[in-house]
C-alpha cells in the first residue's frame, strides 16, 4: 500500500511523516521547506505501508516550482490513499487544495491538523460536518504532539482498503457547464491520460502549466474548444476563465468554512505581541541586529569555553603518544596523524558546530527566518534580489549544500542563479570553525565579526554586479509569514543530530584519513612538492608559511579540514606561536572565500550546469586573493 501526504506548505505533513519515519524529513517553520519528496515504509496495524511526503503546494494549478513534481506524482504514480493534511487554523484556504485533490477521485482522508493552533485562535471546527461536506473521512490531529495520528493511519488503512473514490465538488453552474463542455470535447477526441476527464477539463480551463502542455501536445485541436468555452466564461463574468474557475473554488471553500466553523473571540497572545515588535517598522531592524549579534556571541562564547580544555587534553595525549614511538619514524607519523584527525573532529570542529547548528535550528523552528525575509526585503532589492533570497542565504551559514538546494523556493531563474552564486560565498559552519578557531581565538571576537562584515560587503558588491548584468524579471516578495512558535526540544535535538550525523559519518573519517595522508606525505616529502607549487600564491602573494599550501588543497574536500590540517602541518594547536596575527588574518580571509567544497560545487553544477559551477569557483578564488591581499596590506598599515 502506498499513502501520499499532500497538503499546503507548513500544514504539518513532515511532522506526520517523521512521527512514523523517525527523523528523516526535515521540518522547518517556513513555507515550502520540502521541495523534493521523501518516502518511508512503516508497519500500520500489521500491514506494510509506504508513506510519501509530497512537497507542500498551495494549489495544483499554480506556476510554482513544487506544484509540478507534486502534480506529476499524483497523476502518474500508483498509490492507494491521499492523506490531505489541512491546517485547521486556515481552513478556508486549505480547502481550495482539498477540492483540487478530490478531483483526482482517489480514496482520500483528511487530517485536520493543528487543532491546538486553531483552538488558540478561537477557531472551532465541527469535524463531522466537515466530513459530511467533503464526503471523505476527517480525523483531527495535532501532529507535533503525535495526537490523533494512530487513528489517522488506522482509518486511512481501512478507507484505502475499501477503495471508495470521493465525489468531486460542485462549482457554480456556469463553471460546471464549461467544465462539462470541455470534458465532452476531450472524450470525443479520446485523449487518454488515465485521469478523470473532468479534472483535465478544469485544468485546461485554468491554464494549468503542467498538465495542459501534456494534453495539448497529444491533442492540439482541444485548444480551440478550451479557448471558445473560456472566452464565453470571460464575457459572462468579465474575468479570464482561470480566474472564474479558481474564484469559484475559492468561494466554495469559504462557504464550506463558514458552515463548519464557529469563531470565538480570541485575545492576542504572546505571539501577536512579539510580532508587533519583531515586524514593527521602527523596532524590527534593531531587534534583528540584536538577535543575530546575540547568536554570534553565544556560539563563540560556548565554543571557546568548550574548545580550550579539549585542546589541552589532546595536546597531552599527542605528547604521550609521541613518546611511545621513535621520533621521525613511520609509526610515529601514522599515530600522530590519527590523533590529530580525532582531535580535529572533537576539539576543533564540534565545539563551534554544535551550538551553531542548534542556534540555526531555533531560528528556523521559531519561524524567524520568514520574518528576516520581510525585514530585509528592501535591502535585498539593492542587490537586485528580494526578501525570499534571505532564506537560502541564512541557511548558507549552516551548510552550503542544502542552502543552494533551497534556492528552488525562488520563482525566477535569475533570482535562483544569483542567490545560488552568492550563497556559495557565505561562510558555512565549517568555515565558521576556521574564523572562530583562528581569528576569534587568537585575535578576539571583534576581528571575527569584521570578517563576517567584509564577507557581506563582498556579497553585496557581487550581487549588485550580477543583477545588473543578468536579464530577467522577478515577481518580488510574496511570502506567507507563519505564526511564531516555540521550538520543540525533541525536534531541535533530532534536527541537530541529522546535521551532525553527516559530519560524523562523512567528514570525520575523511578528516582522520586526510590527517594520516598528510602525515605520510610530509614523511615522504610529497607535501613539499605541493607546497612549493602553491608557494607563489601562499608565500609570495599572501606572505603565509609554505606549509599552508597543502591545507588549502584538503580544504576543497571539506572546509573543516583546513583548520585541522593547518594544525597538523604546523605541528601545534597553539598556532599563535608559529603564525603572526597578520598571517592568521590573511589565511582566514582566503579560506573564507576560496573555492566552495566539492559537495557544494557538485550541487552548484546540478543547479546551474558545470560551466556555472566552474565560473563561480573561479570567481571565489579571485575574490579570495583580492580580499586576503587587501587584508594583508591593510593590516600591515593599520594593524
Amino acid at each position: 500500500m502506498r499513502f501520499l501526504l499532500a497538503g499546503q506548505p507548513n500544514s504539518g505533513k513532515s511532522s506526520i511523516f517523521n512521527s512514523i519515519a523517525g527523523y528523516r524529513s526535515a521540518t522547518a517553520n517556513f513555507p515550502k521547506s520540502s521541495i523534493s519528496y521523501t518516502a518511508t515504509r512503516a508497519l500500520i496495524a500489521g500491514r506494510e505501508v509506504e508513506v510519501v511526503d509530497l512537497p507542500g503546494i498551495y494549489s495544483l494549478t499554480s506556476s510554482d516550482e513544487a506544484a509540478g513534481p507534486a502534480e506529476r506524482y499524483l497523476l502518474d504514480e500508483p498509490y492507494d490513499l491521499i492523506i490531505n493534511v489541512v491546517d485547521a487554523s486556515r481552513l478556508g484556504r486549505s480547502l481550495e487544495l482539498t477540492f483540487q485533490l478530490l478531483e483526482f477521485r482517489r480514496p482520500m482522508i483528511v487530517a485536520l491538523n493543528m487543532m491546538d493552533e486553531a483552538h488558540r485562535r478561537g477557531v472551532e471546527i465541527d469535524d463531522r460536518a466537515l466530513a459530511a461536506e467533503l464526503g471523505v473521512p476527517v480525523v483531527t490531529t495535532v501532529s507535533r504532539l503525535g495526537r490523533g495520528l494512530k487513528q489517522l493511519f488506522r482509518d486511512g488503512l481501512r478507507h484505502a482498503a475499501a477503495a471508495v473514490p470521493p465525489v468531486p465538488p460542485t462549482y457554480d453552474l456556469e463553471v460546471e457547464e464549461a467544465i462539462a463542455e470541455v470534458a465532452t470535447g476531450l472524450t470525443s477526441r479520446a485523449v487518454v491520460t488515465g485521469v478523470p476527464t473532468r479534472l483535465v477539463a478544469a485544468k485546461l480551463l485554468e491554464g494549468d502549466p503542467h498538465l495542459s502542455g501534456r494534453v495539448l501536445r497529444a491533442d492540439p485541436e482541444i485548444a480551440r474548444v478550451v479557448e471558445a468555452v473560456g472566452g464565453r466564461l470571460e464575457s459572462a463574468h468579465g474575468w479570464s476563465a482561470d480566474q472564474v474557475v479558481s474564484g469559484s473554488r475559492h468561494a466554495l471553500a469559504h462557504a464550506v468554512e463558514d458552515r463548519v466553523v464557529t469563531l470565538r473571540p480570541a485575545g492576542d497572545g504572546w505571539r501577536e505581541k512579539a510580532d508587533r515588535l519583531l515586524l514593527n517598522q521602527w523596532t524590527g531592524g534593531p531587534i534583528m541586529v540584536l538577535i543575530l549579534g546575540g547568536f554570534f556571541w553565544l556560539v563563540f562564547g560556548i565554543g571557546r569555553r568548550v574548545e580550550a580544555p579539549l585542546l589541552d587534553a589532546f595536546n597531552w595525549i599527542q605528547g604521550s603518544v609521541a613518546e611511545q614511538f621513535p621520533a621521525g619514524g613511520l609509526t610515529a607519523t601514522l599515530a600522530d596523524g590519527l590523533v590529530m584527525g580525532l582531535a580535529g573532529g572533537v576539539a576543533i570542529v564540534l565545539p563551534y558546530v554544535i551550538p551553531f547548528l542548534i542556534g540555526l535550528a531555533i531560528l528556523e523552528d521559531t519561524g524567524y527566518l520568514p520574518r528576516l525575509a520581510y525585514i530585509l526585503d528592501s535591502l535585498m532589492h539593492h542587490i537586485g534580489l528580494h526578501g525570499k533570497s534571505v532564506l537560502p542565504m541564512i541557511l548558507g551559514y549552516g551548510c552550503s549544500v542544502p542552502a543552494i538546494m533551497a534556492t528552488r523556493v525562488l520563482e525566477s531563474e535569475k533570482d535562483r542563479k544569483i542567490t545560488a552564486a552568492l550563497t556559495s560565498f557565505i561562510p558555512c559552519s565549517a568555515r565558521t570553525v576556521v574564523i572562530f578557531g583562528l581569528v576569534a581565538a587568537f585575535m578576539g571576537p571583534l576581528w571575527a565579526l569584521a570578517i563576517y562584515l567584509v564577507n557581506i560587503v563582498v556579497i553585496v558588491l557581487l550581487g549588485t554586479v550580477m543583477a545588473s548584468r543578468m536579464k530577467g524579471a522577478s515577481p518580488g516578495l510574496v511570502l506567507e509569514i507563519p505564526d511564531l512558535s516555540l521550538p520543540d526540544v525533541k525536534t531541535l535535538i533530532a534536527k541537530t543530530w541529522l546535521a551532525l550525523r553527516e559530519f560524523i559519518t562523512i567528514a570525520w573519517p575523511l578528516l582522520i584519513a586526510s590527517s594520516i595522508i598528510l602525515g605520510l606525505l610530509e614523511w615522504g616529502h610529497g607535501a613539499e612538492a605541493v607546497n612549493r607549487l602553491l608557494s607563489p600564491l601562499t608565500v609570495w602573494l599572501l606572505g603565509l608559511p609554505a606549509a599552508v599550501g597543502m591545507t588549502l588543497v584538503f580544504g576543497v574536500l571539506r572546509k573543516e579540514l583546513t583548520l585541522v590540517m593547518l594544525v597538523q602541518a604546523l605541528g601545534t594547536t597553539d598556532l599563535a606561536t608559529v603564525m603572526t596575527t597578520q598571517q592568521l588574518l590573511t589565511f582566514t580571509l582566503f579560506v573564507v572565500f576560496y573555492v566552495p567544497c566539492i559537495a557544494t560545487i557538485a550541487v552548484l553544477a546540478r543547479q546551474m550546469g558545470w560551466r556555472g559551477a566552474l565560473a563561480i569557483s573561479g570567481l571565489t578564488v579571485t575574490a579570495a586573493i583580492v580580499v586576503a591581499l587587501a587584508g594583508r596590506l591593510l593590516y600591515s598599515v593599520f594593524g
Binding site: Q243, G247, Q281, D377, S378
Partner: protein, 92 residues
C-alpha cells in the same frame, strides 16, 4: 482607485483588481488572495519595503512591486472589469 501599497496600517481594503499576467494572479490566488477578498494591512516596512497583510486568518508579506499591482478599494465598491459597477454592502 488606489493600490495596496498606499493603504495605511490597520486599514481594511478590498481587492478589486490584480494588474499583471496570469502567473502573478495565480500566484496570489494560491495564497488565498482573490478579487473581492477583504484584507487588513498589518505592517508596512520602511524604505519601500514590503507590506504585511492579513487575509483569511493568515499573514502574507507582499513586496512593494506586487503591492502596486493590487488595486483595492476601501468602501466596498467593486468595479468589475467589464466596467459596470456593482455595490456591495460594506464588508466585515
Amino acid at each position: 482607485m488606489m493600490t495596496l501599497d498606499t493603504v495605511g496600517v490597520h486599514r481594511q481594503a478590498r481587492v478589486i483588481m490584480i494588474d499583471g499576467g496570469h502567473r502573478i494572479r495565480s500566484y496570489l490566488n494560491t495564497l488565498g488572495i482573490h478579487i473581492g477578498d477583504w484584507l487588513t494591512v498589518v505592517q508596512r516596512a520602511p524604505f519601500r519595503g514590503p507590506v504585511l497583510v492579513e487575509i483569511h486568518g493568515s499573514r502574507v508579506a507582499l513586496g512593494r512591486g506586487i503591492a502596486t499591482k493590487i488595486r483595492v478599494d476601501m468602501d466596498g465598491v467593486l468595479e468589475s472589469l467589464s466596467g459596470s459597477t456593482e455595490v456591495f454592502g460594506a464588508g466585515s
